[in-house]
């Protein structure tokens, strides 16, 4: 069984000054990239499948050279191979479109993604992949219970505390929810060793190759990035810590 896990490199601690729109995309200035938290959970699942089912595991990332850090991290955690698709985009249909070719070559039975990336916050990429590759799909997966040659049983969240038990035909795209497994610590030694492993080229983001299949989806434009407006802003308590604590307790006492 082959398992591919898609891992996005995410900039941390950005502010309005470091994010801008250029070439029809949202760009962030050259900060370090860390694995998207939800993808880190997907990676744990991939490693679990390697251990329990002997799966051959592939970590994929679409990103610029600095996103290799995410792939080195995946290698340190224990994936068998890491491949980078060269390019940079925050447009989910483009991200999915540029991962399709390499996924067709790998032919995984299971593709894993996180439910969403914490920077864009949409959750489209895994869903688009399932459509582009005509695979089964489950979103917000919280457990993998059983895998056979042709099918998989999982549990997925429906929201509001409801969980569905679902059987799906393979191949499948599973969008993994946070908390599915504890995130395992990876030692500095393993991280160092992983840097010696080669990250393979997985192709390039090339709009021309994809234009036809996703041109309809791409009929929107980014116009402006702004701060989220602070309407209905909180009344801020000010003063020393003691004064703020006293005031806060007073508000509670007066309200109940």
């Amino acid at each position: 069984m082959r398992v591919a896990v898609c891992c996005k490199g995410i900039p941390i601690g950005l502010n309005l000054e470091s994010v801008h729109i250029a070439e029809g995309d949202i760009k962030s200035q050259g900060t370090d990239l860390y694995i998207n938290e939800f993808d880190a959970y997907a990676l744990e699942v991939a490693l679990d499948l390697k251990e329990s089912y002997g799966a051959e595991t592939f970590a994929l990332s679409l990103g610029p050279l600095r996103s290799q850090e995410v792939l080195y991290f995946s290698l340190a955690k224990g994936v068998d191979q890491a491949l980078r698709v060269d390019g940079e985009t925050n447009r989910p249909e483009l991200a999915a479109g540029s991962l399709v070719q390499i996924l067709k070559e790998i032919e995984p039975q299971i593709i894993l993604t996180g439910v969403q990336s914490t920077d864009w916050g949409g959750g489209e990429v895994g869903v688009y992949l399932s459509q582009a590759l005509n695979m089964s799909l489950a979103y917000a997966v919280v457990e993998i219970s059983q895998i056979s040659d042709t099918s998989i049983r999982i549990k997925k969240e429906l929201g509001g505390g409801k969980i569905a038990e679902v059987a799906l035909k393979l191949p499948v795209v599973l969008c993994i929810q946070s908390g599915i497994k504890p995130l395992q610590y990876v030692s500095a030694v393993k991280r160092k060793k992983a840097r010696k492993i080669q990250i393979k080229p997985g192709g390039k983001l090339n709009l021309k190759d994809m234009e036809q299949s996703i041109s309809g989806l791409m009929s929107y434009e980014f116009k402006e990035v702004t701060l989220t407006p602070r309407e209905g802003q909180a009344e801020m308590l000010i003063g020393t810590r003691t004064e703020m604590a006293v005031k806060l307790l007073q508000i509670i006492n007066e309200s109940v």
């Binding site: 249909e93 949409g122 489209e124 509001g160 929107y220 980014f222 990035v225 989220t228 604590a245 806060l248």
Partner: protein
């Protein structure tokens, strides 16, 4: 042009997100949006719920789908794609919920139309609409112009728009669509639906005061202070999802889109950033007080009162003040 709202199954009433979307889209001139049609799949709408929709939408479409397909997103996607794509220029609005996160991009991909997820505002002018969506954990907004000429899928954050529905008025034209075998599931089978029941456990939905913690707490070693605070205020402890994921607290204490919806008198949010998936479960609280060390945390947009401070210092101070009294 036709506009559609996917009506998700809900408990006693029509879900708030359906009413919020319908209220906003109804305000758009009919020349632009066309008729506004609700799509309910299966027979989850009783007469009471139908009456709640009168005045909010122009027509209700009920798809006669077998009950085993309730919650089967493969089937729901097949149906939505057919209905929205039947004529050119169908616009599908749906909630940015668990179902909506999955269904929206599937329908958009299949119809080859733009998909805008997690929207908080939407203005339609001629061939274009301007949608705003949150990025970077709710701290920033990106404005997008969406070409509406061939149709679009727009998913909306719960609570972004106001429910302007009033007591039901008039009739609601109803169309029943008969089941087509082509919609049947080929890849997905729902085996069971389970719910996390809180027997013998503290039921956070009953609390008058919730002391709610987020990842900002830093670790489970600080929980005893929080417990002491909740006890001395006569409240219960609730939390965000990462607190559950990290194993600091059990899942029945989770507030948000995948956890409980609460509406206490006081919601004291400690080290919680205030992202929509959490806020969705607590924005009905009477008074929200947020303590966060980041003055730009989105929780301060929603809270009634805010304190910018380190909770690891502030909570002990609260406890000192309570003891001193």
């Amino acid at each position: 042009m036709e506009s559609f709202i996917y009506i998700e199954p809900s408990e006693a009433d029509i879900g708030p997100i359906t009413k919020q979307i319908a209220s906003r889209i109804k305000e758009i001139p009919p020349e632009l949006r066309g008729p506004l049609k609700g799509i309910a799949i299966g027979h989850h709408l009783d007469d009471y719920k139908k009456s709640q929709l009168a005045g909010l939408i122009d027509e209700l479409i009920i798809v006669d789908s077998p009950s085993e397909y309730a919650y089967n997103t493969e089937v729901i996607s097949n149906i939505l794609t057919d209905i929205v794509g039947e004529k050119d220029q169908g616009i599908l609005f749906l909630g940015f919920t668990h179902q909506g996160m999955e269904l929206g991009p599937v329908v958009g991909w299949r119809l080859g139309i733009p998909v805008m997820t997690s929207c908080v505002s939407f203005d339609w002018h001629g061939k274009e609409a301007y949608a705003q969506r949150t990025i970077f954990e709710g701290k920033l907004l990106v404005t997008c112009s969406v070409n509406m000429e061939r149709g679009a899928v727009i998913s909306v954050q719960k609570g972004a728009w106001k429910d302007l529905s009033s007591e039901s008025k008039g009739d609601l034209p109803l169309t029943t669509v008969t089941w087509k075998e082509a919609w049947a599931a080929e890849k997905t089978e729902i085996l069971a639906i389970n719910e996390d029941v809180a027997e013998d456990k503290e039921d956070i939905t009953k609390a008058e005061i919730l002391v709610s913690i987020g990842r900002g707490l830093g670790g489970p070693e600080y929980l005893p202070d929080v417990k002491e605070l909740a006890d001395s205020l006569g409240g219960m402890i609730s939390c965000t999802r990462p607190v559950i994921d990290l194993g600091w607290l059990p899942s029945y204490r989770q507030v948000g889109i995948s956890g409980k919806t609460v509406a206490p008198l006081i919601y004291l949010a400690l080290g919680i950033s205030g992202q929509n998936n959490h806020v969705t479960g607590m924005d009905g609280s009477e008074i929200i007080i947020a303590v966060n060390k980041d003055p730009s945390a989105p929780i301060f947009n929603l809270a009634n009162y805010g304190v910018v401070d380190d909770i690891l210092e502030f909570v002990p101070e609260l406890l000192r003040q309570i003891k001193d009294k």
